[in-house]
Homo-oligomer: 99 residues x 2
């Protein structure tokens, strides 16, 4: 993976609110918001102390870093984690560690 892309991923996870958002979306697959492992902006927003425009902005950054994907379902936007990318990054970090 290219350094710029890697940095972009880390940047997307570098804001505490956005990171928590991301983790929430990840967890949604298990203790689900809607039993399908998905998570709407309204769901997310109700867990945080930040406004809808900010949530929207954060979501966009996560999508932009390819960490999640979204899908419009009716009025709602459904977010899912891109599990492959996350584990790629984990592997890269692991590589720097072959002590």
């Amino acid at each position: 993976m290219d350094i710029k892309q890697m940095a972009k991923i880390f940047k997307a996870l570098s804001n505490p609110n956005r990171l928590e958002l991301y983790l929430k979306i990840s967890e949604a697959r298990e203790a689900s918001f809607n039993a399908c492992g998905e998570c709407s902006i309204a769901d997310i927003k109700s867990c945080f102390n930040i406004g809808a425009p900010t949530v929207s902005h954060h979501i966009k950054e996560l999508v932009n870093a390819n960490l999640i994907t979204t899908e419009k379902r009716g009025k709602f936007l459904i977010c899912k984690v891109n599990t492959q990318l996350t584990s790629e990054v984990a592997d890269l970090l692991r590589l720097t560690n072959n002590s």
Copy 2:
């Protein structure tokens, strides 16, 4: 690990130059700058197109996030990766992935 600490780590890795710096320090253990798996600021600086003050600032951020440790040896500052933290982070990323 606490969300804020996690975010801090990611922030420290979110700048392309700083990330590359960090990776360079990691690699130094193998294809070494000084055969002891260490890496001085001068070594680093000579690989990048950024000035000494900037390198110094980046190093400080990496130390601050606990990703590296430093040790002054004579005129030189020697940097080493904190491998434990790195693998903790990798594990955390992995965790979001238990599909």
